[in-house]
């Protein structure tokens, strides 16, 4: 038989679990990786944006003449020009509330009002500087709690998008800044509080922060001949296509969205950012249009929600938490973006990873006159965890119970209902907490110091639900020479998805992961994916890839049968194709599609039998050293442990966990978008400090525990956000342990610590 003359390829077993370098590693170290940042098209115009300088007001007059007169300016556009090509120029994933350019009114300082297009970016910039606007200023609302009950309204009425059926009841609601009010009721919290031995209540705040990807937002639109191609630094190309097609009233197949590598995303480059604007401009100009934001302009695009959180717990004599109620106000800024989803998803876990019978949660998405807020690495979980893990620590301290023991006593275990009623499964909360305690040497006493330098340590643990229900579709194309292309809409923004997805496909197809080419998102080519967000890709797209590879294997088997090749002959598929087509020709195409089960939470009670595809779990421990005279402090040790299911690529995973923790270290100790009267005062790297090499803790440990997600691809689940969750409260708890004073608001700065030390009168008398 012919098969006997063929050499059987060696089995490249164990593709999953290999720590291979990123597939694109060589391109990245030689500076040749492709980003939208690098791209230009023939005849392309550059756009520069003129922005509002006031936070809230009506536009009385806009003077574009001086800009139009600048030599080299091709076009100056405001909303009336946009309307000529997009009749209803409002977009958004949850609410259609955001105009492509300000429409008669500005709602935050920095909002785009007009755009200049020119052949060269510097001409557009110069001309944009000549635009002037007159406003009738309106009173603004900036604080999320004040805005909740204010008589100043950011929007006249709510405009929910039809794509989110659970928001339909909000249509046309007027005279409110509350875009969404999520509530959850479990048991009888009032009765439990009345019966409790102890009741504790605290208020916490978190600050607004920004993603600051080092590749700032950038999009190119090329509209010609009744179709449109977008090259955009986007985390969800499928959504961009659907939303742009909706705005234009076009079928999806006339809109093509292509995404190369991203220079970072972190949740910022989601939904529509610059895409609708460049689309409209390219349609008007009939030339390709590129807009590249500066780092400073990024701060006017999207930010992480600031939040105010009220949390109250009832505890019985034995130290069991019997009731918890939380109220969370999310500062959504001027446009809803994905804020309502943050409100809901972070809302239902706001009581923490504890087994509490009586829970009452209220979570409000609130419009304010600030930069719109959206997703940032954790979908709200780091904000709520700051509150519940500081609160939990404070209760333990008050009751005189060890912080670890108190948490263990109340921890939520697999098989028990979470606050939504969903039975916890494959959430290694206990293992994560145990590992944190072990790495912190929690059982060994810590020398806290009595002089000027004080030391302390703290731990924290948190969890998050995953956005649902969402779909991923993957396609595998086996070419006639035996090579393989993997077609996915997942965007590799640094997390290593190309590599991990290739490993999953390779495992099933019995190929080397390095030999697989991952075809980057191109909506004309790659199938639908909901988006690269919320730790969903490994689980959702990973499953779709696995199914696509299995489908391809079935088609190989069917082809072998059709050709009369005996089963288990191990004939390579390239040989099967050669036999069928009598030359190197044809393809074998495998398709995989995945949407996990989901049960929508009840509108009144928030109860659901299946609220999340899986649970993200992260725990942290920190040791700090504080100079009690100045408040200066150092995080001397930081431990982060996550439950990620099984690791597809352990080395990439460890780097992702470490990177997420350092990012959250910045959000804990230095990053803060400072507003005064609705004006951002520190929107650049000169005044907004992100972590650098010198901020690394001397001891820095990042690990994952052994666990398995029963329905994840090869036991894996998502990992991009888990180590952001508990970093802030671990550090805050360590500070309290060192100086006996609690900080209730983020960020934790030397200034805040110094103020707290002065207020508490610590150290003074022993020193003098």
């Amino acid at each position: 038989m012919a098969s006997q003359t063929l050499t059987t390829p060696a089995m490249p077993a164990g593709q999953v679990g290999r720590s291979i370098p990123r597939l694109e590693a060589a391109a990245k170290v030689t500076g040749r990786a492709e980003y939208v940042h690098n791209m230009s098209l023939p005849g392309m115009l550059h756009g520069k944006i003129f922005r509002s300088v006031i936070p809230h007001g009506k536009i009385k007059h806009l003077d574009l003449d001086a800009a139009r007169a600048v030599e080299g300016v091709f076009l100056v556009a405001a909303i009336d020009d946009i309307r000529k090509v997009i009749a209803h120029p409002y977009y958004g994933p949850a609410f259609h509330d955001q105009p492509i350019l300000a429409d008669g009114k500005v709602r935050y300082a920095g909002e785009p009002v007009a755009v200049v297009l020119a052949d060269e970016a510097h001409i557009a910039e110069e001309a944009a500087g000549l635009i002037s606007a007159e406003y009738e200023e309106l009173p603004g609302v900036y604080d999320e709690v004040e805005a909740h009950g204010a008589q100043v309204f950011v929007h006249d009425e709510l405009k929910p998008a039809a794509t989110f059926p659970d928001l339909a009841h909000l249509l046309g609601r007027r005279d409110t800044n509350v875009a969404l009010d999520f509530q959850l009721r479990r048991g009888d919290a009032d009765a439990a509080f009345a019966a409790a031995e102890h009741v504790f209540e605290h208020h916490f705040r978190t600050q607004p922060t920004m993603h600051t990807p080092l590749e700032p937002f950038v999009s190119i639109a090329d509209a010609s001949g009744g179709s449109l191609t977008l090259h955009t630094a986007s985390q969800n190309p499928s959504f961009v296509r659907i939303e742009i097609a909706r705005l234009l009233g076009w079928p999806e197949n006339r809109v093509r969205v292509k995404v190369p590598y991203l220079g970072g995303g972190f949740g910022g480059k989601l939904y529509i950012k610059l895409e609708a604007l460049v689309t409209a401009l390219s349609l008007i100009a009939r030339r390709p249009v590129k807009i590249s934001l500066t780092m400073q302009e990024q701060f006017f695009m999207v930010m992480r929600h600031a939040a105010t959180i009220r949390i109250k717990s009832g505890v019985d004599k034995s130290g069991r938490i019997t009731a918890r109620s939380c109220e969370v106000w999310w500062n959504g800024g001027a446009y809803a973006d994905i804020g309502p989803r943050v409100t809901q998803k972070a809302g239902f876990t706001a009581a923490g990873p504890y087994d509490i019978d009586n829970v009452e949660l209220n979570s409000y998405a609130v419009y304010t006159n600030r930069t719109p807020a959206g997703a940032l690495r954790g979908f709200g979980a780091p904000q709520t965890c700051w509150a519940y893990e500081t609160h939990t620590d404070m209760i333990a301290a008050k009751l005189g119970i060890d912080q670890l023991a108190f948490r263990r006593m109340n921890l939520l275990h697999d098989g028990r209902p979470q606050a939504t009623g969903t039975i916890l499964r494959d959430a290694a909360i206990d293992k994560v907490l145990d590992r944190v305690a072990e790495r912190m040497n929690w059982g060994t006493p810590l020398e806290r110091g009595t002089g000027r330098i004080r030391r302390g340590r703290g731990i924290a643990i948190g969890f998050k639900g995953i956005t649902a229900p969402t779909t991923s579709v993957a396609m595998i194309n086996l070419y006639a020479d035996g090579s393989c292309g993997l077609y996915i809409g997942t965007v590799d923004m640094g997390q290593g998805s190309d590599t991990c997805m290739a490993q999953i496909a390779a495992e099933v197809l019995n190929l080397d992961a390095e030999s697989i080419k991952v075809i980057h998102p191109d909506t004309d080519v790659t199938p639908y994916d909901m988006g690269t967000l919320g730790s969903r890709s490994t689980f959702h797209m990973g499953t779709a890839v696995r199914l696509a590879a299995l489908d391809a294997n079935q088609k190989i088997a069917a082809l072998a049968e059709e050709l009369g090749v005996p089963p288990n002959s191990n004939l390579p598929f390239s040989e099967l194709l050669r036999r069928k087509y009598r030359m190197q020709a044809g393809n074998i195409i495998g398709i995989g599609s995945f949407i996990p089960g989901y049960d929508k939470p009840d509108q009144e009670t928030g109860q659901s039998a299946n609220v999340t595809p899986f649970w993200g779990v992260g725990g942290s421990g920190a040791e700090v050293e504080i100079d009690i005279e100045t408040g200066e402090f150092k995080v001397t040790k930081l431990v982060n442990v996550a439950d990620v299911g099984a690791a597809i690529n352990p080395k990439l995973l460890a780097a992702q966990l470490s990177g997420a923790a350092i990012m959250q270290l910045g959000f804990t100790t230095s990053e803060n978008m400072l507003y005064r009267d609705g004006q951002l005062t520190n929107g650049s790297f000169a005044d907004y400090k992100i972590p650098c090499l010198l901020d690394m803790p001397a001891v820095f440990i990042n690990e994952f525990v052994e666990s398995r997600q029963h329905d994840g691809p090869f036991g894996a689940k998502g990992a991009g956000e888990s180590t952001t969750i508990a970093v802030s409260p671990a550090i805050g708890n360590a500070i309290a342990d060192a100086i006996g004073v609690r900080l209730m608001d983020l960020p934790l700065t030397a200034e805040a610590i110094h103020g707290a030390i002065l207020a508490a009168g610590i150290g003074g008398d022993d020193e003098h």
């Binding site: 370098p21 990123r22 694109e24 590693a25 060589a26 391109a27 990245k28 170290v29 030689t30 500076g31 040749r32 990786a33 980003y35 940042h37 690098n38 510097h122 110069e126 993603h211 600051t212 990807p213 080092l214 590749e215 700032p216 590598y261 991203l262 220079g263 970072g264 972190f266 500066t294 780092m295 400073q296 923004m493 640094g494 997390q495 290593g496 080395k651 990439l652 780097a655 992702q656 470490s658 990177g659 997420a660 923790a661 350092i662 990012m663 650049s684 790297f685 000169a686 992100i690 972590p691 650098c692 090499l693 010198l694 690394m696 820095f700």
Partner: protein, 160 residues
């Protein structure tokens, strides 16, 4: 408004000339005239190191360096570092082996600064590395891996 001049300089070892306007930065000229995209404008204030370029043996912020000053200089970019298409510089190899990047946007700047560090100090300590590279920012925060990569590169360059 802006005046143009011709600058002649060496770019990755080859003599080149360019007509540049007075407002143009080095990073813009590399991008717009020579299709070299490895040095990237990010913060635009000389604070992040993404735009790092080596001019006359010294690292500069390409976003702040005016192209008019290029006349007579020798410029090296990340694209000129690898000795051949199929061979990388030991620093580039070390960054791959240590997994010292995620999105890759800041990576050329880190590699060029590392090259310069190792030219001054053949065996830098962790502390030397952290201080020397503190002007390069990585938002993916691959910092532990970057420190490991620099040490690995030092070993490789010493022939270890």
């Amino acid at each position: 408004m802006s005046t143009e001049r011709t600058v002649r300089f060496s770019l990755n070892g080859r003599a080149v000339k360019a007509h540049v306007a007075s407002h143009e930065s080095l990073v813009q000229v590399l991008r717009d005239r020579f299709d070299l995209f490895g040095s990237r404008e990010s913060c635009g204030q000389g604070l992040c190191g993404c735009c790092t370029v080596i001019v006359d043996g010294k690292p500069v912020s390409g976003c702040l360096y005016l192209a008019s000053f290029l006349d007579g200089t020798s410029v090296q970019t990340i694209e000129g570092l690898a000795p051949a298409d199929d061979r990388l510089d030991p620093v580039q190899e070390a960054f791959i082996e240590a997994g010292a990047f995620q999105c890759g946007f800041c990576t050329p700047g880190f590699i060029l600064m590392t090259k310069h560090l190792l030219a001054e100090n053949r065996a830098p300590s962790d502390d030397d590395i952290r201080h020397y590279l503190t002007g390069n920012l990585c938002r993916c925060s691959a910092y532990p891996e970057i420190v490991a990569a620099v040490k690995l590169a030092a070993t490789k360059q010493r022939g270890g």
